[in-house]
C-alpha cells in the first residue's frame, strides 16, 4: 500500500501540470487600458532599451598604446646665448614619455654654474645688513644652498647671506614675456594610436587604411576638412580648447588630447573612427591660483679640461600634452539580448498590476469583479459549515 502511495505521488509529480486559473474580464475599457499600457511598455523596451541603448550588444573597453613625434624648428637671438637654433632634441623633454609629451616654450637659463660661494638670491629671509643676520649651516626650504654665516653684496643696492651652492645662483623672479620659444605654436605633433578590443579581437590604428603616404606628409588636422589626419598643429590644439597660446606659453600648462573610439562592430569596420577633442587640464586663471603653469628644472653637465664640473641649469616652462584614449565597442551577443528580453517581458507584469487596481478598486462594478476573482475561504478550524455558501 505504501508503494502504491509512493507511485501515486511520483506519478502526480511527473505527469501532472498545474497552471493558475485566470478570470477573463470582457470589458472594453479595461481591455483597452491593458493593451495601451502593454503597448507603452513594448515601445519602451524596443525603442529605448534595444534601439537607442543597443541592449542586444556586449560591450568592451579599449586597450591602447600611444606614440608621439614632434617636428618643428625655431630660432632665437639674445645677448646671452647669441643666435641659436632649437630643434626637437632641444625642446622635447624627456625624449620619450608614456602617453605624455612636453614641449618647452619658455625658459630661464643659468650658464656655467660651478660649486662655490656666492650671495643668495635676495628675498625676505635672505637679505642682511651684517654677519649677525646670517647663521652658518642654515638651510631653509627655499634656499639654493647652505649658509656660511657671512653677509655679502648681491648687487650695488642689496646685501644677502653668502651660501655654498651651484654659483651663480638662478634668478627666477622675472620670466621672459613674451615666451622665449614663442614660435612653438607652429610645431606639429604626430600622434600614433593603436587600439585593441580584446573581447572582439579587433585592432585599429588612428592612421586609417584610407590614408596614403603623400597625404600624411602634407596634411594638418582640421575638425571639418581633415578630421582623420593625425598631425596636429600646437596652435590649433590650444585654440580648440579655448585658450590663447602666447598666454599659456609664458608660464606653461597642461593640455589634454582626448581620443574617443566609440565603435559599433556590427557595422563595417570603416565606421570605426577616432574623435579628437581638446581640453586644458590645469587651472587657467593665473591671477587667482598659487603656483600656476607647469615647469621643472634640469641641468646639462660638463667637465672642462682641468676636470672641474660645471653645469647649465635650465628652468623649463612649457606645455605638457596628456593623450587620453578611451572608448567602448559593442557587438551583438545572445546573452545580453536574452537578459534584456527577459527583463522587458517581466515589465509586462506592470500592466497587469495597474489594470488589476483599476478593475478591483476604481470601477463601478468592482465588488462584482472582486467576487469573480477571489474565492473566500474561512479558517478551517472554525468549522466546515462556515464554508458553506461561499463563492465557487
Amino acid at each position: 500500500m505504501a508503494s502504491a502511495a509512493w507511485c501515486g505521488a511520483l506519478r502526480g509529480f511527473l505527469f501532472e501540470y498545474d497552471t493558475p486559473r485566470i478570470v477573463l474580464i470582457k470589458s472594453r475599457k479595461v481591455g483597452l487600458v491593458n493593451r495601451a499600457v502593454q503597448l507603452a511598455i513594448l515601445a519602451y523596451v524596443i525603442g529605448w532599451v534595444f534601439v537607442w541603448e543597443k541592449g542586444y550588444q556586449e560591450t568592451d573597453s579599449v586597450v591602447s598604446s600611444v606614440t608621439t613625434k614632434v617636428k618643428g624648428i625655431t630660432v632665437t637671438n639674445t645677448s646671452e646665448l647669441g643666435l641659436r637654433v632649437w630643434d626637437v632634441a632641444d625642446y622635447v623633454i624627456p625624449p620619450q614619455g608614456e602617453n605624455t609629451l612636453f614641449i618647452m616654450t619658455n625658459l630661464i637659463i643659468t650658464l656655467n654654474q660651478t660649486q662655490g660661494y656666492c650671495p643668495e638670491l635676495p628675498d625676505k629671509t635672505t637679505v642682511c645688513n651684517s654677519s649677525k643676520d646670517c647663521t652658518a649651516g642654515y638651510i631653509g626650504t627655499h634656499s639654493n644652498g647652505v649658509q656660511t654665516g657671512k653677509c655679502r653684496e648681491y648687487s650695488t643696492s642689496v646685501k644677502t647671506c653668502e651660501i655654498y651652492a651651484w654659483c651663480p645662483v638662478e634668478n627666477d623672479t622675472r620670466l621672459p614675456k613674451p615666451a622665449f620659444l614663442k614660435d612653438a605654436e607652429n610645431f606639429t605633433i604626430l600622434v600614433k594610436n593603436n587600439i585593441w578590443y580584446p573581447k572582439f579581437n579587433f585592432t585599429r590604428r588612428n592612421i586609417l587604411p584610407s590614408i596614403s603616404t603623400t597625404y600624411l606628409k602634407t596634411c594638418i588636422y582640421d575638425p571639418k576638412t581633415d578630421p582623420f589626419c593625425p598631425i596636429f598643429r600646437v596652435h590649433r590644439i590650444v585654440e580648440a580648447a579655448g585658450q590663447n597660446f602666447q598666454e599659456m606659453a609664458v608660464e606653461g600648462g597642461v593640455m589634454g588630447v582626448q581620443i574617443n573610439w566609440n565603435c559599433d562592430l556590427d557595422k563595417s569596420a570603416s565606421y570605426c573612427v577616432p574623435k579628437y577633442t581638446f581640453r586644458r587640464l590645469d587651472n587657467k586663471d593665473s591671477d587667482h591660483t598659487v603656483s600656476p603653469g607647469y615647469n621643472f628644472r634640469f641641468a646639462k653637465y660638463y667637465k672642462d679640461a682641468s676636470g672641474t664640473d660645471s653645469r647649465t641649469l635650465i628652468k623649463a616652462y612649457g606645455i605638457r600634452f596628456d593623450i587620453m584614449v578611451f572608448g567602448k565597442a559593442g557587438k551583438f551577443d545572445i546573452i545580453p539580448t536574452m537578459i534584456n528580453i527577459g527583463s522587458g517581458l517581466a515589465l509586462f507584469g506592470v500592466a497587469t498590476v495597474l489594470c488589476d487596481i483599476v478593475v478591483l478598486y476604481f470601477m463601478k462594478k468592482r465588488y462584482y469583479y472582486r467576487e469573480k476573482k477571489y474565492k473566500y475561504v474561512e479558517d478551517y478550524e472554525l468549522g466546515a459549515s462556515e464554508t458553506y455558501g461561499t463563492q465557487s
Binding site: 509529480f13 511527473l14 505527469f15 501532472e16 501540470y17 498545474d18 497552471t19 493558475p20 486559473r21 485566470i22 478570470v23 477573463l24 474580464i25 470582457k26 470589458s27 472594453r28 475599457k29 479595461v30 598604446s65 606614440t67 613625434k69 617636428k71 618643428g72 624648428i73 630660432v75 637654433v85 630643434d87 626637437v88 632634441a89 632641444d90 625624449p95 620619450q96 608614456e98 614660435d183 600614433k192 593603436n194 585593441w196 590604428r205 592612421i207 590614408i211 596614403s212 600624411l216 606628409k217 660638463y302 527577459g342 517581466a346 463601478k364 462594478k365 465588488y367 462584482y368 467576487e371 469573480k372 474565492k375 473566500y376 464554508t387 458553506y388 455558501g389 461561499t390 463563492q391 465557487s392
Partner: protein, 388 residues
C-alpha cells in the same frame, strides 16, 4: 458604517491571497514542465553558481605598482635595437639634407631667409648651395650641423639586445578584501632570482628573455629590431580568494600593440631622437641619436572574488524568477498547441462579462449556478482537479 469599514480593513490585513490552480493530468505537458524546470535548475547551479561563481562578491579595482630594471618610465621600458648617430654637431650653417622636398632649390630666390624648413632640420639663410656643376641643390640652413643622415642601417646595430633580460616586479592589492601579493617568489634563497628565467616551471620568476618575449607576442625580434615597435605585456590577476593565497597567480600575455598588419606600412615602427650635450673649448657640441627600438608597455589588470551572502541571494532570486519562464512556455503548449487545448482553456479561464448585473456588495452569493450541484463537496477543497 465607518467603524465596520475600518474593522473590515484591519482584519483584511491578516488575509492571505493565493492563486487558484488548475491541475491538468496530462502526461506530455507534465513531463515537459519538469524537463524545463530541470534545465533551468541545471543552468542556475551549473552556469551561474559553479562556472561564473555567482555566490562571490567581486573587486575589479586593482591597485598595482610595477618596477622594471631597465630604463624608461613607470610602466614602460625601452630597449634600443638600431640607431643613427650624428656626432659632433654644432650650431652653424650648412646645406640641408637632399631628401627634404622643401629645401630643394635651383637659385637663391627659392630659399627665403628666415623661413623654417618644413619637416627639416633648420632655418633657411637665403642661399642655395649646389654641389659641383649640378643645376639643383639644397638651401643653406642655420641648424645643428652636420645634418642628420636619412638612411638607417639595414641590419640593426644592436641586434644582440635579443639576449637581454628584464626583471619586472609587480605588486598588487585588492582594497575591498585587503589582499596583497607580489609576482616574485617569496624565498630566502638569494640565488634563485640570479639564475632563473620565466617559464612554465618557474611561474614566480619574472625575469624575461627579450627574444622569447617578442616571440610569445607572435613576432620575430630581428624583424622588429630594424624599425622598432611596441610590445604589450599584460599581467592579469584573476583570483578566487575563497581558495588559499598560493593559488592566486598572475597570468602573462604578450601582444604587439603597434601596427599589426603590413610590416612596411606608412609610419610604422617606433623611434625618437635625443642628444648628449658637451662642451669643447667653450663651444657647445652635441651628439644626436635617432634611436629605433622596442618599447614594452606593462599593463596590469585583475579581478578578485570572495564569498558574500548578498550576491548569492540575488542570484538565487533571479534564478527562481526564471522558473516563471518555464511555466509560461508550458502554458502556451497546453492552451494553444495541444489537441484538447479548447477544453483546457475552458477550465483555466472563467469569463466575466461586464454587462451582467448582480453586483451585490460584500456578498457571499453563488454566482455560478451550473456547478452548484457539485459545489457542496467541491467547496471544501482548495483545488479543482481536471482529468484527461
Amino acid at each position: 458604517m465607518g467603524q465596520v469599514g475600518w474593522k473590515g480593513l484591519c482584519l483584511s490585513l491578516f488575509d492571505y491571497k493565493t492563486e487558484k490552480y488548475v491541475i491538468a493530468k496530462n502526461k506530455k505537458v507534465g513531463i515537459l514542465y519538469r524537463v524545463v524546470q530541470l534545465s533551468i535548475l541545471a543552468y542556475l547551479v551549473g552556469w551561474v553558481f559553479v562556472v561564473k561563481k555567482g555566490y562571490q562578491d567581486s573587486d575589479t579595482s586593482i591597485q598595482s605598482s610595477v618596477i622594471t630594471k631597465l630604463k624608461g618610465g613607470e610602466n614602460v621600458f625601452f630597449v634600443m635595437t638600431n640607431l643613427i648617430v650624428t656626432p659632433n654637431q654644432r650650431q652653424d650653417t650648412c646645406p640641408e639634407s637632399t631628401g627634404i622636398r622643401d629645401a630643394l632649390c635651383s637659385k637663391n630666390r627659392d630659399c627665403p631667409a628666415g623661413e623654417a624648413v618644413i619637416a627639416g632640420n633648420g632655418v633657411k639663410t637665403g642661399r642655395c648651395l649646389k654641389v659641383g656643376s649640378n643645376t639643383n641643390g639644397t638651401c643653406e640652413i642655420l641648424a645643428w650641423c652636420p645634418v642628420e643622415k636619412r638612411s638607417k642601417p639595414k641590419k640593426p646595430l644592436l641586434a644582440n639586445a635579443e639576449n637581454f633580460t628584464v626583471y619586472i616586479k609587480n605588486s598588487i592589492r585588492f582594497p575591498k578584501f585587503k589582499f596583497s601579493k607580489t609576482n616574485v617568489l617569496s624565498t630566502d634563497n638569494d640565488s634563485y632570482l640570479k639564475n632563473c628565467h620565466y617559464s612554465a616551471q618557474h611561474l614566480y620568476c619574472p625575469i624575461f628573455h627579450l627574444g622569447k618575449l617578442v616571440s610569445w607576442a607572435g613576432n620575430n625580434f630581428q624583424d622588429m629590431a630594424s624599425e622598432g615597435g611596441v610590445i604589450g605585456i599584460q599581467i592579469e590577476w584573476d583570483c578566487d580568494l575563497d581558495k588559499p593565497p598560493s593559488e592566486c597567480n598572475p597570468h602573462y600575455s604578450f601582444s604587439r600593440l603597434d601596427n599589426k598588419f603590413a610590416e612596411k606600412s606608412i609610419s610604422s615602427g617606433y623611434n625618437f631622437r635625443f642628444a648628449k650635450y658637451y662642451r669643447d673649448a667653450g663651444v657647445e657640441y652635441r651628439t644626436l641619436i635617432k634611436a629605433y627600438g622596442i618599447r614594452f608597455d606593462v599593463m596590469v589588470n585583475g579581478k578578485a572574488g570572495k564569498f558574500n551572502i548578498i550576491p548569492t541571494i540575488i542570484n538565487v532570486g533571479s534564478g527562481l524568477a526564471l522558473m516563471g519562464a518555464g511555466a509560461f512556455f508550458c502554458d502556451v503548449v497546453l492552451l494553444y498547441l495541444m489537441k484538447k487545448s479548447n477544453f483546457y482553456r475552458g477550465k483555466k479561464y472563467e469569463e466575466v462579462k461586464s454587462s451582467s448585473g448582480k453586483s451585490l456588495p460584500g456578498g457571499t452569493v453563488n454566482g455560478n449556478q451550473n456547478s452548484e450541484s457539485l459545489a457542496t463537496l467541491e467547496q471544501l477543497r482548495q483545488l479543482q482537479t481536471v482529468e484527461t
